[in-house]
């Protein structure tokens, strides 16, 4: 039983990381129909911004801020201006393929210009365990869950309670009507890209101490974010969170109780069952179509 609780908590912590990446992924899809296959590499990269800033002599907290700013500028602003804007009007697929090329570019660039080895990354939490309900839980997991929950609450507050957030939702749901009502749709789309830049930097900060900073970190994470977003309904932030947590927990439990050999496939089979019974995802709504 204690083992089960420990697995559950570890799964929730992994799931929180998937959820953060999936939320950003969903935001980009909602406002600009961007399927970002480079989301995993987007999470991999900010850790290297922070490491580079620390090499330049900055303290850890300042390096975090530099990483956050660079991530919003490059992975948010520049990504939108240079790649998304020119391709947006030509449909979903060419852009999705271009982000695949972008993921190769980012991965190979880090490998060539920084290091092909895994670099240790400082943690924001102490490296020890705490006993909770008779189970040893690492501070690392608690920090991940805490920061994850805080981020999601802040994001929900921004989207539902502030004027800007409501304008962003309007821009996502119906750009034409939003524009008629005076919502600056273009700027709202830019905001979602900046938010995604901040989210991936946060995820990077949380995940890198666990897996070490390595150029290939994005491979599994990008796929996990994609799957979590689909399971959650693809057009719902709450759905992405539930999808991410579910994926993390199922992944951990199935590896322990079912089969490590087929670990990668079990969450996906779960996904298929969900799709068959709930075609719009766990919390998704049907998308309306025009003829």
């Amino acid at each position: 039983m204690a083992n089960f609780v420990a697995l559950l908590i570890a799964g929730l912590a992994t799931g929180a990381l998937y959820a953060l990446a999936a939320v950003g992924f969903t935001l980009l899809w909602q406002t600009s129909q961007t399927i970002n296959f480079a989301q995993g590499e987007f999470v991999m990269l900010p850790a290297f911004f922070m490491l580079a800033a620390m090499h330049a002599g900055l303290p850890f907290w300042a390096a975090i801020l530099v990483g956050l700013a660079l991530s919003m500028a490059i992975l948010g602003f520049a990504f939108k201006r240079l790649l998304v804007d020119p391709m947006l009007q030509h449909g979903v697929l060419p852009l999705a393929i271009a982000t695949m090329a972008l993921s190769t570019f980012l991965k190979e660039s880090v490998k060539t210009f920084y290091s092909a080895e895994a670099s240790p990354f400082p943690s924001i939490a102490p490296d020890s365990d705490i006993r909770l309900l008779g189970v040893a839980v690492s501070w690392q997991s608690i920090a991940v869950l805490g920061v994850g929950i805080a981020t999601v609450v802040a994001l929900q507050f921004l989207l539902n309670r502030t004027r800007t957030g409501r304008q962003m939702q309007a821009a996502a749901q119906n750009p034409t009507v939003a524009r008629i009502l005076g919502v600056p749709v273009e700027r709202m789309i830019l905001y979602t890209f900046l938010i995604n830049g901040a989210l991936v930097a946060l995820t990077s900060l949380l995940i890198s101490p666990i897996y070490l900073a390595k150029f290939s970190n994005g491979d599994t994470l990008g796929l996990a974010a994609f799957i979590a977003a689909i399971v959650g309904g693809f057009n719902q932030i709450r759905g992405a969170i539930v999808g991410g947590l579910l994926l993390g927990v199922v992944d951990n439990l199935s590896a322990a109780y079912v089969s490590t050999q087929y670990r990668g496939a079990i969450p996906l089979c779960l996904l298929i069952v969900i799709i068959l019974f709930k075609p719009n995802g766990l919390l998704g709504r049907a998308e309306e179509r025009t003829v």
Binding site: F37, L83, P86, M87, H90, G91, L93, P94, L95, I97, A98, M100, A101, L102, T104, F105, E108, S109, T112, L223, I227, I230, Q261, Y262, G264, A265, L268, C269, L271, I272, I275, L276, P279, N280, R289, V291
Partner: protein, 328 residues
């Protein structure tokens, strides 16, 4: 005039494919054979994606199924043609079974079901070592004897691949021009209208997906004897995404798209090898640049160029006509 130019270009390309390899080294022949194999898989995906408008993320897995079929059966003494027939049938059936539930709900879910299949197929290749040799794979896949001729020399095997590619091309040309092909295009352009015009959309989508998957299997059957070694890492999601890129970069929905796309994906990295560590970085940059410049792919560039020329010619003709009318 235009049509004659096109035919001339085509004739040159075919002559090149037949004659140039005579001067090639082993490695050049190997790469060119690989191009022919990948083109077959991309033609299949182009039918699914470009003509029927369905995103499949499992074409690489179907290539894997075909390759393992060929490797297992030929090392047990089957002829390659028998393995090819079985692989075609197997991939067609798997495609049908995958597409059936996915298309029952909403048809873009096919992408997610194929993603799952792709992962599952890789794990089966890796874990079921009694059948697939596990992580070591299957080594020493023999090349077939055809009409009493061994295809072990690289040049002969290349011509064999080219011959199969030609067969596939002709068959696909017939399919696209048949009423089926028209139905595929109709349901890509506007599924609802196609449905209201009496096209059984679900059956045609399934058909396009299953035929496309079967061609992936056929490519796999050719792949196994070409490389000689069949192992799991060759058929991960990366291959599926790579094939998807070939179709989009070449020009999805254009008949010649996959040929050009496979050229970019197979040959371009080889040409960039001189850049050593930087070649993948440059390759990714080139692909992004190409897609930003022409989101409809390489064929899109040619199309744009030809339209511009035609428009110029037409306006020149109009001007000449106008001048002749003004002058009494």
């Amino acid at each position: 005039m235009m049509a004659r130019l096109n035919y001339a270009g085509l004739a040159i390309a075919i002559a090149f494919l037949i004659l140039a390899p005579l001067e090639f080294h082993r490695y050049g022949l190997y790469i060119l054979s690989q191009w022919a194999v990948m083109t077959i898989a991309a033609i299949g995906l182009n039918l699914t994606l470009g003509y029927a408008g369905q995103v499949s993320l499992a074409q690489g897995a179907f290539v894997g199924v075909g390759a393992y079929c060929a490797a297992i059966l030929t090392t047990h003494g089957w002829p390659l043609v028998g393995a090819a027939a079985l692989a075609l049938a197997l991939c067609f059936v798997i495609g049908w079974l995958l597409g059936y539930p996915a298309l029952r709900v909403q048809h873009h879910y096919l992408a997610f079901v194929t993603l799952a299949f792709s992962t599952l197929a890789f794990l089966v290749f890796r874990n079921e070592s009694w059948l697939t040799g596990g992580t070591e794979g299957i080594d020493g896949v023999p090349r077939p004897n055809l009409l009493g001729l061994s295809t072990t020399p690289h040049l002969r095997y290349y011509y064999f691949c080219l011959f199969v590619l030609a067969l596939v091309t002709v068959a696909m040309l017939g399919l696209v021009r048949s009423p089926w092909g028209r139905a595929f295009i109709a349901l890509r352009e506007n599924p609802l209208r196609a449905l209201s015009l009496g096209v059984d959309t679900r059956r045609y989508i399934l058909m396009a997906f299953a035929i496309g998957s079967a061609l992936g299997g056929l490519a796999g059957v050719l792949y196994a004897p070409l490389v000689g070694l069949v192992e799991p890492p060759a058929f991960t999601l990366t291959l599926s995404l790579n094939l998807l890129m070939m179709v989009i970069v070449g020009g999805s929905g254009y008949f010649l798209g996959p040929f050009l796309g496979a050229l970019v994906a197979v040959l371009l990295p080889e040409w960039l090898r001189g850049l050593e560590n930087y070649y993948l970085i440059f390759y990714a940059l080139l692909v992004m640049g190409l897609l930003i410049y022409s989101p409809t792919g390489l064929i899109g560039i040619a199309d744009r160029f030809l339209t511009a020329r035609r428009a110029r010619a037409a306006s020149a003709a109009r001007a000449a006509l106008g001048a002749s009318i003004e002058r009494p």
